[in-house]
Amino acid sequence: MKKLITTLIIIVVLVIILFILGPFYILNEGEQAVITRFGAIVNTQTEAGLKVKVPFIDNVVKYSKKVLSWDGDSQRIPTKENQFIWVDTTARWKIIDPLKFYEAVNTIDQGYARLDDVVDSTVRTIIAENFLSEAVRNSNKINEMIITEQIKAENVEDTDQLKSLTQIKTQSDTITKGREKLSEEMFKLASGITIEEYGLELLDILIRQIRYSDDLTTSVYERMIKERNQIAEAYRSYGEGKKAEWLGKQENDKKTILSEAYATSEQIKGTADAEATKTYADSYSADPVFFEFWRTLESYKKVIAPLDKILSTEMEYFDYLYTKEGAAAK
């Protein structure tokens, strides 16, 4: 019994030792391995699973088979028109030839270092060879779109006029390549070197971000501010203009309305006068002598009666004061 236990334990211990040092090793999914024997590469493994090696002698170096990220520092690069911009690129890569990679690069960290060299210089080359807008834009879409201010004016004419006023008619440069094409060029330039030399493959190089250099940023801000100011002024000025127009219209309409009313009223009065005159004339012309007599008397009543007056008795009215024959006595 005791012997059995002892042997059992010994077997277990041996098996454990065998597994630790032993001919087996596990290669996980997403890993690949280079097996070296006394420093020389004897084999590479790319499939996951339980693998065999010669204990003690074979050395297993594992590499990732996964897609790896490369992230460079932002670089300050002059474009073709000599504007300095910060370009931040990122790339994806993986080890496709572990044997070559082991020889030429050895460690993942070294791999990153190599990529730093290759990609940084590639990015620098391509950016420097192209204009800024080629790197910023990807198509000429911007020139096909007419972008207007979002205006909420009170009516359609106002809106149309304002739109034409505030529309910034800057035609952007036509680009021939665009960002994707530049990325592709970088990628081609860099991948030529990487596979051959280092056993690693670039999947892509992407421009992650482009920024203006600080002094350029300041002047761009200035430009943006001026552009806005100009539009703001257009609105204000338009408002002022409209106000003046309304005030003018007010003056105009007021005068028009009142003068028209005056004209009409004078016409009405004139017509009335004419009609009255005609009425009088028609009637009075039938007997001008009586009219003169009668109308004069009427006028006397109205005009002379209220006046303070000194009258001589020479008037016919007073004839009977002197003689009972009256006027006949003269």
């Binding site: 990732s64 004016a153 992407l206 943006m224 703001a232 209220p306 303070d308």
Partner: protein, 335 residues
């Protein structure tokens, strides 16, 4: 260790070997038990590797695997929609979500197609739809998602004018970016599905530039205010003027009616008088004359009348100028 412990005490406990076996077996069973079962949450799927090689994917519940590390399981949250923010960070989600105070301009500041600068914050939501790919295809998964998302948004924005980005193209950017990101992620075999891209704040750079943009909004208000002021002035005067015009015309109408009616009246009276005059012109003339004189000399409204004899050679009238005789007397009395 076990051997050394057992050796010095063989005579004291005869049952010791059995106990050792039992203990050993128990240990083995416990290890077996612990390393043979694992729990997969409802939100997860588990990838099982046998000797490092992909074997199977299992769903939620209590699952079984080969023990002693022969099979390993990797649980992946496949049902959970995960979020990644750009330009801002959520500190604490909840009814009142708390956002980190600091911005991340290195993510959110970008160039537009018309070479302006804009600050964009956005969110990407994704779900792992292929746990195997998620685990074994890409090394720095979160960084990859972040890098690609940034690159794609930058490119979309770089293709548009600043006003387009701030206004009408917003939704298009979201849709287009989602498509492009998905394409790139698929290209890497990342095993995720982009659920949505949401652009959050799209603002001009903070400071003077933003103020200038604000000022445009203000200027539109100013414009409308000025136009309204103009209209106000117009409305203040014009309806009144229209009323005044009507007044003038009404007055004229009144004058017209009065004038014509007076004429008609005057003429009617004249005609009537003439009829009477025709009967005996002489008598009527005399009568009218005398009546008129009567009126002139004696009517209540008649003025001061002084009659001078026609035979009087001289007459020196003494009159108060400008005042009535009555007033002079009363005035003298007060003096």
């Amino acid at each position: 260790m076990l051997e050394r412990n057992t050796n010095p005490t063989p005579k004291q406990f005869t049952l010791q070997p059995k106990i050792i076996i039992i203990i050993l077996v128990a240990i083995v069973v416990v290890i077996l038990g612990l390393s043979s079962f694992f729990v997969v949450d409802q939100t997860e799927k588990s990838v099982v590797l046998r000797f490092g090689q992909f074997n199977r994917i299992v769903g939620a519940g209590l699952q079984w695997k080969l023990p002693f590390g022969i099979e390993r399981n990797y649980n992946v949250p496949t049902e959970v929609v995960q979020t990644m923010n750009f330009g801002f960070r959520t500190e604490q989600s909840g009814i009142n979500t708390v956002y980190a105070k600091n911005d991340f301009p290195e993510e959110s500041i970008m160039l537009t197609g018309d070479l302006n600068i804009i600050d964009i914050e956005w969110t990407i939501q994704y779900r792992i739809n292929d746990p195997y790919a998620w685990l074994f295809n890409v090394q720095d998964r979160l960084k990859t998602i972040r890098d690609i998302s940034q690159s794609v948004i930058n490119q979309s924005v770089g293709d548009l004018a600043i006003l387009a980005v701030m206004g009408p193209e917003r939704t298009n950017i979201e849709v287009e970016a989602q498509q492009r990101m998905q394409e790139v992620y698929d290209h890497y075999g990342l095993g995720i599905r982009v659920v949505t891209i949401k652009l959050k704040n799209i603002i001009p750079p903070v400071g003077d530039v933003q103020d200038a943009f604000e000022d445009v909004n203000k200027s539109v208000q100013d414009m409308n205010r000025l136009i309204n002021e103009g209209k106000q002035a117009y409305n203040k005067e014009i309806p009144k003027a229209q009323g005044e015009a009507l007044q003038l015309i009404q007055i004229a109408e009144g004058y017209s009616a009065e004038r014509i009616n007076e004429a008609i009246g005057d003429v009617a009276r004249f005609n009537a008088m003439r009829e009477a005059y025709k009967v005996d012109p002489d008598v009527t003339t005399t009568r009218l004359y005398i009546e008129t004189m009567e009126d002139i000399l004696s009517s209540s409204s008649a003025g001061d009348v002084t009659i001078i004899d026609k035979n009087l050679e001289n007459f020196l009238p003494i009159k108060s100028i400008g005042t009535q005789g009555v007033q002079v007397t009363t005035g003298g009395g007060t003096n």
